[in-house]
Amino acid sequence: MRHEPVFDPERDPVQLRVDALNDRYRHHGATAVLERALGDAQVGRIALVSSFGAESVVLLHMVSVMDRDTPVLFIDTQMLFEETLQYQVDVSEQLGLTNVQILRPDPLEVQRRDRFGALHLSDPDACCALRKTETLERALAPYDSWITGRKRFQGGQRTDLEFFENEGDIRIKVNPLAHWAKEDVRDYMVNNRLPRHPLVSQGYPSIGCKPCTSKVGDGEDERAGRWRGRDKDECGIHFLDGKPVRAAPDAQHEEVAETAEGDTTMSERVIVTDDGFAADDWNGALAAPEDEDATAVLLPSDADPEVLRGRLDGLSLVAVEFPSFADGRGFTIARRLRLMGYKGRLRAKGHVIADQYAMARRVGFDEVEIDADLAARQPEDQWRRRSAWQAHDYQSRLRA
């Protein structure tokens, strides 16, 4: 059995081990770090996660020399280039890697969330989450640590990368190549006669999924071709390090969202009140919460209602967004607005279902705005059944 950890997760939290490891290996080189990582009990059970991309072969080669039985996890997002899949087979064979595990997204989830394989167009973050991040998360469950090929020179969020990183207090991320320069990578590949990814010579220095990778021009940042034209530079796999940073999918890909909303069903909105269905009588625009002069605002579900403090009296409509009926943040936002003293019109907007109508009313919403599709599927009578929301309410008995 290999590298069973001797640490106690309770007494030896990830951060402490990471600090100790960084101290210990501060002045070591890539191969020393990797070699020690493969055997260090504080690192525990470890796997190499490889995209079999442009530079992956460096770490694959190092691992094959040190311990070819090391688990190598390869995420096939089912959106990869054919060349990558072939390269994976060829390199694994050539290096004699014995434990390459090919992981694919959960087919049922794919069927549910990306039935037509077009999610990357409307929401690349969701696509990465579905195909890459969640697959990896599942694959990494049995491991205490994983090895990545990230390097400081790649820029973006990576300029102060350490050899060992704390990943959400759950796992250690090992970056043996953190300090390598581009030349080091090239030299290593030349010196060891390693096979190159076939797409590199065609102008792809950084290779991800087919739909979201394009060629980069001379002088551009190597990763410029990833998610080109989008406010995105990390795929979520590397997004959690240290203090976790969260993606804000709503703020991104605006141009894509706009075209998607052009169709007519979205514009036919239904307002639900205790009296049933009605057309929307609000003709004005809804401003962003930061807009100090607005009289009507739309609060996204991740907004802090405090942003409106001090100008609640000047607002005649606040709509709170429900991106999914399973996201209950809007209920707390509404209650907080009421506790802050907002007396105006308060609307729940988005995916709210009839069964949630009483909840919406009880936290202080006046009305719910749904789209025509939902209104067709859950017609007026299903909402009316919940219109007596004051009845059977435990809260009203406890608060007085």
Partner: protein, 556 residues
């Protein structure tokens, strides 16, 4: 004991009526499965490996004989004649049909019970010390507070779609029998320096993938502030908790990532906003609830029958030595009925057994029963002179196993025999361990030892806090079991440490036997318990015994 008010009754009936419609709307297509799923979960209905499963709440583990008889009736009428008591003071039926579930819920409503919020990303069944109201070491009965919390959390409009499930436990005694430190909110009834009774509030505990021990967020909370303070915690969590990754969505991760100080500041700020909302109606209601939980008057009588049986009947003596706990009233006892007969499924009871236990409760225990998180049934208020008669009847019903707190009193989740999330089986492992130690006749010699088995990382079997914990995993298509040692679910809560590589299905029972034999070799005297020995000698002797080859290699 609490009995439903007209309000409770009407509420539960209304919910059943709503669920009946939701089932119809799912079948006729008005609700998609995606939309129906959280609604059925809110009403305790899961879809498991082989069938639906209905999880019924037994709030704070307390029920009367009529309720227990109704559980038996439901088992026979709509299921396969048995029920499974869980580690969260619930009962599960493993074979209901979708169309029958509304009828089952109506049958529960008939006796003041429900399955509301036994699942889903909401505040779950509030649990409490199963000896509450009877234990000798109690400061105050935690159940009135648990009932108040039940009413507050039920259908709470803000908290039906939290980032993840949310569990609250309350304990009223310094000896923690409710594992409060492993809950999202743990409430310990304490007395402060001036003698005032209030709560020590813990937040952010939990087992599962990332086990964490709850952190004290408020050292002393006045009793009147219970609801606004809990509401502040859950409300802060609702906005702050992660929704991008369900493995990081529990409050333990929120507290951990936010930092306890920052989290506490936010809670206190929210609490200041919410406090004025509760102007005394909750306290008036609490007073009514408390009156209902007042301990029934217990009669003193002669102990001669008990003492004679204790002296003359070794089987009875063995049973009282393990299954009886000290009652606050002299001459009385708390009886734990073991649902862990050797080789049986931990926590399962047949309809006949449920009826027998109901009858015993009615005759001898002030009509009260309790369900423990350790998956046993308790008769909380028994006069010692009745113990011989109770024991005789339990023997008849196959319920007199004298093993409470011993090696065969195993907690086990349903595992892959039922659960859709499981990665390996738990029940047969528990059955085989119990059977094996029964064959060895070592059980009483081994003494107190808690084995807890989970069939996946979600840790419903509390393996992290088992003296010996077993976690079943799927390793490359084969069942594999990891062992942890040194966990503790008591007031000294500790997370167990993994011994090393896991064991195959047919190797796990011998491995447990090796662990226990190592303990027997290492202990200084029969009085030194497994946990004490482990704390003294550490992991090494156990590792050496479990992995002899590795040891040889190291020596070479």
């Amino acid at each position: 004991m609490y009995s439903y008010t007209e309000f409770d009754e009407a509420f539960v009936r209304e919910r059943v009526a709503q669920f009946r419609q939701q089932v119809e709307r799912r079948i006729d297509g008005a609700l998609t499965e995606d939309e129906f799923k959280p609604l059925r979960l809110m009403n305790g209905l899961y879809l498991q490996l082989h069938a639906y499963m209905l999880r019924v709440a037994i709030p704070y583990g307390t029920l009367n004989s009529g309720q227990m008889r109704q559980l038996a009736y439901i088992a026979e009428r709509w299921d396969k004649g048995y029920g499974h008591f869980t580690t969260r003071q619930n009962i599960q039926y493993n074979w209901p049909k979708l169309k029958d579930v509304p009828d089952m819920l109506d049958a529960l409503a008939d006796v003041g019970m429900h399955a509301i919020q036994t699942s889903g990303n909401t505040i779950r069944n509030v649990t409490a010390d199963h000896f509450a109201g009877a234990a000798a070491d109690e400061i105050e009965d935690p159940r009135p507070y648990a009932e108040l919390l039940r009413q507050w959390s039920t259908d709470h409009p803000e908290f039906q779609f939290l980032p993840r499930k949310f569990k609250i436990a309350v304990s009223g005694a310094p000896n923690d029998r409710a594992v409060v430190k492993a809950h999202d909110i743990g409430l310990e009834i304490v007395r402060n320096d001036t003698g005032e009774v209030g709560f020590r509030v813990l937040a952010g505990g939990g087992l599962g993938r990332t086990p964490m021990i709850g952190k004290v967020i408020r050292e002393f909370l006045p009793k009147d502030d219970l609801l606004p303070y809990c509401e502040a915690i859950v409300s802060v969590y609702n906005l702050l908790g992660r929704r991008d990754n369900k493995y990081k969505a529990r409050i333990k991760i929120t507290v951990h990532e936010t930092g306890l100080e920052e989290f506490r500041d936010r809670v206190e700020a929210r609490f200041a906003q919410l406090r004025p909302e509760f102007g005394g109606a909750d306290q008036a209601l609490l007073a009514e609830i408390k009156a209902q939980f007042a301990r029934p008057p217990l009669q003193a009588s002669s102990l001669a029958a008990f003492e004679s049986a204790y002296t003359n009947d070794p089987v009875f003596r063995a049973w009282t030595d393990t299954n009886i706990a000290e009652h606050a009233e002299p001459g009385h006892a708390i009886v734990t009925i073991s649902l862990k007969a050797h080789g049986a499924t931990p926590g399962d009871a047949t309809a006949e057994q449920m009826r027998e236990m109901a009858d015993l409760a009615q005759a001898y225990s002030q009509d009260e029963l309790r369900i423990s998180h350790e998956q046993n049934v308790i008769l909380p208020h028994v006069h010692k002179s009745d113990l011989p008669a109770i024991h005789a009847r339990l023997k008849e019903a196959g319920l007199a196993t004298a093993n409470v707190g011993l090696v065969s009193d195993i907690i086990a989740c349903p595992g892959m025999d039922y659960c859709a999330l499981a990665t390996a089986r738990s029940i047969p492992v528990a059955q085989q361990i119990a059977t094996r130690f029964d064959e060895l006749k070592l059980e009483h010699d081994i003494g107190p030892l808690k084995i807890k088995i989970s069939g996946c990382i979600n840790a419903c079997g509390h393996h992290h806090v088992g003296h010996i914990g077993i976690l079943g995993l799927d390793r490359a298509g084969v069942e594999n079991y990891q062992i942890t040692l040194g966990g503790d679910g008591s007031e000294d809560t500790a997370i167990g440490t993994r011994t090393g590589p896991g064991f195959a299905y047919d190797q796990i029972v011998p491995a447990i036997e090796t662990v226990v034999n190592t303990y027997l070799d290492q202990r200084e005297s029969p009085d030194e318990t497994f946990l004490q020995t482990y704390k003294r000698v550490g992991m090494e002797p156990f590792k050496a015994a479990l992995y002899p080859d590795q040891e040889k290699q190291r020596a070479a």
